[in-house]
Amino acid sequence: MINMILLFPLAACILVLLIRNRFFNIWMVNLYALVHIAASCLLVFGNEKTAGLPYFAVDNTNGIFLIVLSVVYLAAAIYNTGFVKTLAAPDRRISHYSCMMMVFVLAMTGTILSTDLGVSWVLMEAATLSSAYLIYFYKTRHSIEAAWKYVFICSIGIAMAFVGIILLNISSGDVNSLNFAKLYETAAGFDVKFLKLAFIFMLFGFGAKMGLAPVHFWLPDAHSESPSPVSALLSAAMLNSAFLVIVRVFKILEIADCTTYARMILMLMGFLSLFVAAVFIFHIKNYKRMLAYSSIENMGILAIGLALGGAAYYAVILHLIGHSLAKTSMFLTSGNIYSLFDSKRVKSVSGLLCADGKSGWLWIVSFLAICAFPTSLLFISEFLIIKTMLADKHYVLCVVFVLLLTIILYGLGRVVIKMAFGELSEDKASVIETNKTKLSICMWLPQFVLLVMLFVFGVYIPDCINEIIKMAAGTF
């Protein structure tokens, strides 16, 4: 199955590049999404875990990450079917776009499945490079600026992570392996001084990919300038895969008894991310950038949850699932809004409910989901994180946490309400009426399904999924 999930896109890419037919390309992207989710389910819920490949396996930690990636990619691929039809680009560009999207998903899947830190690193960088074309897809001044910053900052970040890997190699003494299982086995004997230094480099390197402040600068630009399905993949899938690598490295420090140090840095970066998000969201002018800052906020919450430990590990996994589903839904809906109003300015969008009821309600419900309105899954996760903070007697942290979340909630709410309600100006109504015909069922159905899942999971999580979440939380 792992062979299937990793080799299928390579064959599909060759076909897509050879047969430059828009219809064929779209369906190849969808076919890979179906293969991906089928293979992921078989791998995670079935018995076959390794498939004899030396560097890739499904274990207790990465199973849930793989399933989340599959679901997000499937939603993005279905949306993509409608989205590509709205584009006026020639077939050649669509074929490149489809090819790079599959390579991007392949790189993320590889990062998640990898059992070796070195291989994870290589594939993480491959994900950066393949998504650069996707961000540059519109070929405007802004998209080239965003893509340049993205490739440059992430490549330097990931190079710093490599320095961290070298330092880890130094600290590991005679152990000449980067295999996670081997590292966990021997971590207790590592040179602590070099290990701590290695963690700083890796946290900043992979943290740059994850979007943690203060190394988040590429994120708002890249998320806002890329096509919506790509923004959804970047935010809901790529950040998670970088987080998985950080989780695995964190575990090495836990075994080597440097937990206090690692937790302190994670906590610091987490709160800094929340602070940055709160400051920028408060006066945001561009709704796609707002979503990007919301991603930074949620990555901050994940870092804080990881730093808290104990019961918060379970909350972290719930939050990761909830954020991925809600953010995919929001980014995809933002694509509808952009198609309707042809602008990313908050100022230019009002009366979304009048313009297109479906997109308007999806926008509002997605907002409720992301701001942890009960019974959204994010409500449970944030509640559990706050509960852990109180149980551990971190009262000041808890107050700051709630305060920052409230500011962010206000910022998001202000923008969403302004966009969704209000009157639609008459001069825009005719243009919007024409644009509305472009929106097909594919452009709202995935969001609807994701939101239903999100609100149902808040009340009831099926046993099989709960089992995987518990297993993952247990291995953190």
């Binding site: 594939l123 080239i144 490739v151 980067l178 002018k285 990313k344």
Partner: protein, 215 residues
């Protein structure tokens, strides 16, 4: 012998800091590639013939031929020969880089007690990485930034040589492939930036902000 080569490698960074012609920077990349190959060959820790062939391919073919050739092509297409008007005058760049390099040597003295690493490699590579990062913030042209990114990667390569046991082969291969593709993509973007903005000034790339309206 190896120590001399490593010191020479450190000195190339000073040359990079003190010149403004981009073609000279590209020539420095060729020199660094050759020096890295000689360091690997002299150190004699390449193990099998396959490893030696790989290191030769990595340092000579990719670092000293393929990447500089590609950058020269980009340079010709963009007609940008000088990175004049850096944030800090070249003399001060040279002074600051020298201080960083000196600090690198001092660190290597301090690290003689750590058995897993070769101190001089570690000191010079750390200095190279820091000088490269610092020059990225100082220089004004995007092409210079790409060159400093490559010198930083060269520094990291030297750092990986400092570990006595070496990095796993697969990781080295992946690193090389990623570096090559990253440089290729950045090179393509340099061309696009030149077309779109009529120049390679980094300051052009500052349209995306939060406090102004962007579409």
């Amino acid at each position: 012998m190896t120590t001399g080569l490593i010191i020479l490698f450190g000195l190339t960074m000073l040359y990079l800091a003190s010149t403004s012609r981009i073609i000279a920077h590209i020539r420095i990349l060729i020199v660094q590639g050759v020096l890295l190959f000689l360091i690997c060959a002299c150190a004699g820790e390449y193990g099998s013939l396959f490893n030696l062939a790989f290191l030769a391919a990595e340092t000579l073919i990719v670092k000293s031929i393929a990447i500089p050739w590609f950058l020269c092509r980009v340079l010709r297409q963009t007609h940008s020969n000088r990175d004049a008007g850096a944030n800090i005058p070249h003399f001060y760049c040279l002074v600051i880089s020298s201080i960083i390099l000196l600090a690198g040597f001092l660190i290597s003295n301090y690290l003689t007690s750590v058995k897993m690493i070769a101190p001089i490699y570690f000191g010079v590579s750390a200095a190279t990485i820091i000088i490269s990062l610092w020059l990225i913030t100082v220089k004004h042209k995007v092409l210079s930034n790409v060159i400093e990114f490559i010198t930083m990667e060269n520094g990291i390569f030297l750092l990986s040589l400092s570990v006595a046991k070496g990095m796993p082969m697969l990781v080295n291969m992946g690193l090389l492939l990623d570096l090559f593709i990253a440089v290729y993509i950045l090179g393509l973007f340099v061309n696009e930036i030149n077309k779109e903005f009529n120049g390679l000034e980094v300051s052009n790339l500052s349209d995306l902000k939060d406090y102004e309206n962007n579409d």
